[in-house]
Amino acid sequence: MSEWTGELLHMVAQGTLETIYMVTVSVVVSYIFGLPLGVILLITGEGQIKPNPRLYQLLGTLVNIGRSFPFIILLIAIIPFTRLIVGTFIGTTASIVPLSVGAIPFVARLVETSMREIPRGVIEAAQAMGASTWQIITRVLVPEAMPSLVAGFVLTTITLVGYSAMAGVVGGGGLGTLAYQYGFQRYQNDMMVVTVILLIILVQLIQMVGDYVTARVNKR
């Protein structure tokens, strides 16, 4: 057992903050791209408000390809892209790129699935009242799917916590790096245990807050 010095505590605290930083930014980025992509996937689908089979096919295929990439491969495969955007491929900021890219197709499908649950008649009623496509998206699709969208957001966030730990293995920073470098490579089991416990707490907190918000927005 290593002694728990102030320095170690500092490292754990910093690792936690790094993880929160990586996850937060990549969740935001993945929704900035994934939400519109999911909406386009939905409305261009067969029998939807803007059916466009070719666009639907194209986007659907891209999303499927993105989702079938194992994250660890994606992490390495897009290093040139990461470098182009951030200037480096090591460190917390650099990990945000693969985390976001990996999550975008996941988010797009989640969003599409959530909105697909809205009864067709409700959308039709809005059309019958003279709503434009944009009005239907912002005033019907998003608010009506909100409980399901929030649940999807929670799922994405938790998935990204897991992925961020994976990014840590290749120098991404955060709790993953601590667990790998100290817990695994230096046989400091207590460090391994502490980081895992912290990850568990993080996931629990996200799920609790998420469940609370989901219940609040659900009027059904």
């Binding site: 409700v122 039709e124 809005a126 019958a128 009242m129 003279g130 009005q135 005033r139 608010p143 009027k219």
Partner: protein
Amino acid sequence: MATVKIESLSKVYSTRDGSQIQALQDINLDIPDGEIFGIIGLSGAGKSTLIRCINMLERPTTGRVIVDGRDLTALPSKELRHARRQIGMIFQQFNLLSSRTVAGNVAFPLEIAGIPRTAVRQRVNNLLDMVGLAEKADVYPAELSGGQKQRVGIARALASEPRLLLCDEPTSALDPQTTGSILHLLQEINKKLDLTIIIITHEMQVIKEICDRVAVIDQSRIVEAGSVLDIFTAPQTKTAREFVKSVLNTAIPEEVRQNHRPPETGESRLVRISFIGRSAGQPVISTMIKEFGVHANILFGKIDHIKSTPFGTLTLELIGPPADIEAAVGFLRRQQLNIEVLSENE
């Protein structure tokens, strides 16, 4: 108020395997201002497609839909959206937004039209008063009964002050009592707001209670159309007769039929007489008996109301020599009554 004219409209669906389904065929309708027009048909007859073709939720394959002189099939999408604001619609499944309160749902069409907030609130309150749901303004649809949901649907449909209201099976998800109250409300707004109403239904009860005219749709065509009284008293097609029978049971009750014996002397003939409104007051039967010397045995009789006009049917067995029966039936026909001579097993 609005007039609706449908001209040689047809709708063909192409299925995935390349075959085509004819949903509507050569539909022609002319609906004047302020009328409550019913379209009745069995499920699959095409009635839902028809009403959805009126506001272009479904694009007709051929033909025109002219509302207040404007051909909706020719409008570009932006103008169509504006035209749709003049056409309210209510649905069998209500289709309310679950994420909005009752007031929020009624406000929805006004928000879409860009009406200022303060004006919206005032108008929403008036509408909720009209449908009797003022105290439910802040409740979510999930907490409402079916009838209340449909009232919200009606208030929402009326929010943008339409001149035409389309009702797609408005009472089919409701129990009979609630159906009555919703129909009553529709009739009330028809009078109060001078609104033209088109109702799609499979329930003849709906037609009987509030419609002025009706079209019967069967296998994607309109097979019969006319005033509700005409359809009830003299249905021309088998489909129409079946619908009429569903609410006006004029068949001779089973126990009467079983106990009925042919007369010992003379011929007998079964005659069903339908009478409407005023003619119900004249002593036609006793005149016939006196003048033609036939006996009349009353087997079954019933009086009903079709949109507040009394409508009765009477099934008589006329007994006597064949020539006298013939003369008596001729007399009845001359009274401008609707006469059907029934065969023994009808």
